[in-house]
């Protein structure tokens, strides 16, 4: 199974947990797309294992390609980053997603329905989630389809910007009513 991590390699994104899971699961292919201050540390930890690849920073077009190739996308942020571009791209591309349950994530993305939620910095939970997805192709497909439907229903830019315009218009009008510029 091909598992993708795409983020800056910084503490807040916790690439180390992903890499440690890769060490424990040598039969799966782990790809790390991103650059950052933890890159060296990750590479040292991997110590040449062939199932874990580091691609460095990857442009948007190649991320799209990697996303299509992957079976599973993993986001291991320590703080809530529910609408990150890579997570949403994975959902849009019908990928099975493993995501850390931080902040309000579980309010919007249901565990076992849209994504598999795991605790932050918990390598054993990540390993178990990957094994589950590896054993159950049906679950992978269901998660992907539900995730894509969520993006289509809730994250369309036209709808979001309409809401932003509404807030902006109200604020400008309120301010005009209270004082003259």
């Amino acid at each position: 199974m091909k598992i993708l991590f795409a983020a800056r390699l910084e503490a807040v994104k916790d690439p180390m947990t992903f890499v440690k899971a890769g060490i424990q699961l040598p039969d799966h292919e782990f790809t790390v797309a991103g650059d950052g201050s933890l890159k060296k540390q990750c590479e040292i930890l991997v110590a040449g294992r062939k199932n874990i690849k580091f691609l460095g920073w990857v442009d948007a077009e190649n991320i799209r390609h990697l996303m299509k190739e992957a079976d599973v996308f993993c986001q291991s942020d320590n703080v809530e980053n529910i609408w990150s571009s890579s997570l949403v791209a994975a959902m849009k591309n019908k990928k099975a997603v493993i995501c850390t349950n931080t902040g309000y994530t579980s309010k919007y993305l249901k565990d076992n329905y849209h994504v598999l939620l795991i605790s932050p910095q918990n390598c054993s939970e990540l390993v178990r989630a990957i094994e589950r997805l590896s054993d159950d192709i049906g679950l992978r497909h269901r998660l992907g389809e539900n995730a894509q439907a969520y993006v289509q229903e809730n994250l369309a830019i036209e709808k979001i910007v309409k809401e932003i315009r509404g807030w902006m218009t109200t604020t400008v009008q309120d301010r005009r009513n209270t004082r003259i510029d």
Binding site: V79, S85, T102, V151, D181
Partner: protein
């Protein structure tokens, strides 16, 4: 509505915030608003009369509440600009509670921001805890980047 949109790091391909900001500007235009981008960089800080251009707009929209927001906030506090200020926080700025510079920028801009839009639900709590009063949440439109 005529919107002056202040965006930092325009042209940096790796910067997600500037890409999201430019996408937002395009969509606002598609929905009938008039949006002009005001690229902000460190050199802008020394252009003392750059605030004058903002007078022709109905509101000033600012991407992220960092240096760019603090800079124009000073102009507003000095009453050189009297327009409505709307800021969008993508999180990195408002979460940097240990960064003294960001804290200072936040302190400077907070009183003059009429509306703060956040794109992650937990940022509502964070922003209110930091003293922002008029805060709203909308989901991020990062879907457009994929």
């Amino acid at each position: 509505m005529r919107i002056a949109f202040v965006v930092a790091r325009v042209g940096e391909e790796r910067n997600v915030i500037q890409r999201l900001s430019l996408i937002l500007a395009d969509e606002l235009r598609k929905q009938g608003e008039s949006v002009d981008i005001f690229p902000f960089n460190r050199r802008s800080v020394f252009k003392f009369f750059s605030y004058r251009k903002l007078r022709n707009y109905d509101c000033v929209l600012i991407a992220n509440i960092g240096l760019q927001c603090a800079y124009f906030s000073i102009c507003k506090r000095l009453r050189l600009i009297k327009k409505c200020f709307i800021a969008i926080s993508f999180g990195s700025d408002i979460r940097a509670t240990k960064n003294k510079l960001i804290n200072l920028f936040n302190q400077m801009s907070k009183p003059v921001i009429d509306l703060l839009i956040v794109v992650n639900p937990d940022l509502l709590d964070t922003a209110r805890a930091r003293g922002y009063v008029n805060v709203v949440y909308v989901p991020c439109w990062s879907e457009c980047l994929s």
